[in-house]
Amino acid sequence: MTRFIVPRSKLHHMTTATLRLLMPEIVLVAVAVAIYLAGAFWNGRRAWSWIAGAALLASAAILWAQTSETDAGGPLRIDALAWFTRWLALGLGALLALLSSRPLTAGGTSEYVGSLLLTVAGLMLVASAADLVLLFVALELISIPTYLLLYLGRSDVARRESAAKYFFLSVLSSAILLYGFSFLCGVAGFARSAGTPHAITEFAAVHAALDGASGAGQGIALTAFAKLAMVLVFAGLSFRVTAVPFHFYAPDVYQGTTHPNAALLSLVPKAAGLVAMVRILVDAMPAMAPHAWQMVLVVSLLTMTVANVMALWQDDFRRLLAYSSISQAGYMLLALAVALAGGRESGEWDGLATLWFYVVVYALATLGAFAIAEHLGGPNRRVDGIDELAGLGRTRPMAGAMMAVCMLSLTGVPPLAGFWGKLLVFGGALNTGAGVVGQIVNLPSQVNNLPHGTQWWFIAAAVIGVLNAAVAAAYYLRVVAMLYFRTPSTTLRPEGGRGPWFAAVLCTLLLIAAGVYPGPLLRTTTEAAGGPRESTAQEATASMPSIFLDHL
């Protein structure tokens, strides 16, 4: 094993600095452990959610107080993407805590809340890791509490199937991921044995090794291992992102669990998977990008097409949203493909900025939809079928309107935030392929390093994407039609409590606000996208699509 040598005088500083930087995560984990333990002594019921909220606030306060001390020299890398993801994780954590604020009927509320905090800490840690081992541990810090959450959420046969299915497939995907990591570890070790400074992070070592790999001798072996690692890591992370060959679990698992759990599953692992993909594919091995974008593009197109077609037949609410979540992952991967294919060199239509924008918008809409469904349920009853929502727009105008806003945002209807997300994704794909159709669409091509002919791929991707969005509109609008144009069959008594209601209101307001005035969110995500790019980080912070700036 390669060891890396740190001067002793720096070691202590490094460790304390690492601990200081990780304080927000440490607070969350410590409170989670305390909640687990206290729950064994005292049945707190509602108190646990309040304690979790307080922990999230404390963590946010510490994060706020942290200066931008970026380099600890240890296994961490706190850059713009890490900051963005940590805040995103805390925000998602707060919304999920609201969503699951109703105590479980079967007991185990303390375990539930503690596990929720652990997944939030895991997501924060995924973004900060610059080391393969830490990244894997962080991903497992999301997965393992999720098994528990799935098991605790409900008490019937379906949850057992749901939990078991998720557990086994998740473990399998972790194994694939680890196999890929082992090759990457070898590549990094090669760089270190070849004299790369030992103080740099493991990702940077991979980067250095692949940049130095020439076409001869060891270079060929290194590149071959890197390709293998790329495919394996992408496959392992695809499970978390629910990309198509690895999406099978999602509908069954979502259907068999509760609304808060389904919301958590469709947000936290997905965000973590995407962050890890960006860290490895974009950040650590940019030399592999010419291979990576092809893989990501094909998977992206498959994902959106399969999921959108399958979703047309669904009658179960969570099953529908599971397919929706899969198809949205397809759009996110398209943005990633654009970023990998060189969309990052263009100041406008930055693929990664689009990706993070899309993630935020998707998260708000999905959380909102699940929150309303949770609110409409009760302690002993769940909204399962879509037809249970019939006539909601008339019987419960407010809830109906919020559900409609979430569905329309997922569709991508103009006044809502989802529209900007779709526009950025397809615009980015068109821009990458613009060399071919520059004359027709009158877009100046900003991506010139693609081999001739491959640009057609992105034109095709944009066309397929838009067609998919049209197909997706059919099932999203079916829910909206159910809300307004059907006579109510059952009377829903909203007994879900105030927490889900508050979360739904918050999500809906944010969706409308980001739709009407997307500037701040775009600027934030563009800043976040500036993180992994080392050489040109400055340029990215200022850039956002100028057509928006001109009109705002």
């Binding site: 060891r3 001067p7 002793r8 005088s9 304390t16 687990y36």
Partner: protein
């Protein structure tokens, strides 16, 4: 390829030859008339009494988990304990040696962090952060690193105790 990886390929080749060879030889020498006893699954020399795939009580599972926790504890504490002892006896650390190995300043460096005789161990016990490149207060840094490692090990132990208390309260040590 480097010649330093040659032993690995040698080992792979040996493994392959041995594995295939043993199967092949058994195949060649076998007369191919299996009796009932030969067909029986081998279970430590005892006659198998039932199918392997049967339900086990969930209590075994809980016990296994509890065992795993303390097994992992041992696994992590062992290198710490070993390096602690060797550091004390040999005191290989001189002030001129400015490097330690190990990645995260955790388990693997205590053997180099053990103070040499006469180091002012009580100089600063707090966790106050120290500037990175202050070589004059090297012993101080050393002491602090040692505290840090100790604190890390103690945190690990405390977490395990918490797990133990949790198990206890949840009643998994009662064979109900």
């Amino acid at each position: 390829m480097d010649s330093s990886v040659l032993p690995i390929f040698l080992m792979l080749a040996c493994t392959l030859v041995l594995a295939v060879g043993m199967l092949l030889v058994a195949r060649l020498l076998n007369r191919g008339r299996p009796s009932d006893v030969q067909q029986m699954p081998y279970e430590s020399g005892m006659d198998p009494i039932h199918d392997t795939r049967r339900r086990f009580d969930v209590r075994f599972y809980l016990l296994a988990i509890a065992f795993l926790i303390f097994d992992v504890e041992l696994l992590f504490l062992f290198p710490w304990a070993v390096s602690w002892g060797s550091g004390n006896q040999t005191s290989v650390v001189g002030s001129q040696r400015k490097t330690v190995s190990g990645r995260w300043a955790m388990a693997s460096e205590p053997q180099l962090e053990i103070a040499r005789p006469g180091s002012p161990s009580g100089a600063s016990r707090g966790n106050a952060p120290v500037a990175p490149s202050t070589s004059p207060d090297e012993p101080q840094n050393q002491t602090q690193s040692r505290h840090l490692v100790f604190a890390g090990a103690m945190t690990f132990l405390a977490l395990l105790v918490i797990g133990y208390v949790y198990d206890w309260r949840k009643g998994i040590f009662q064979w109900r």
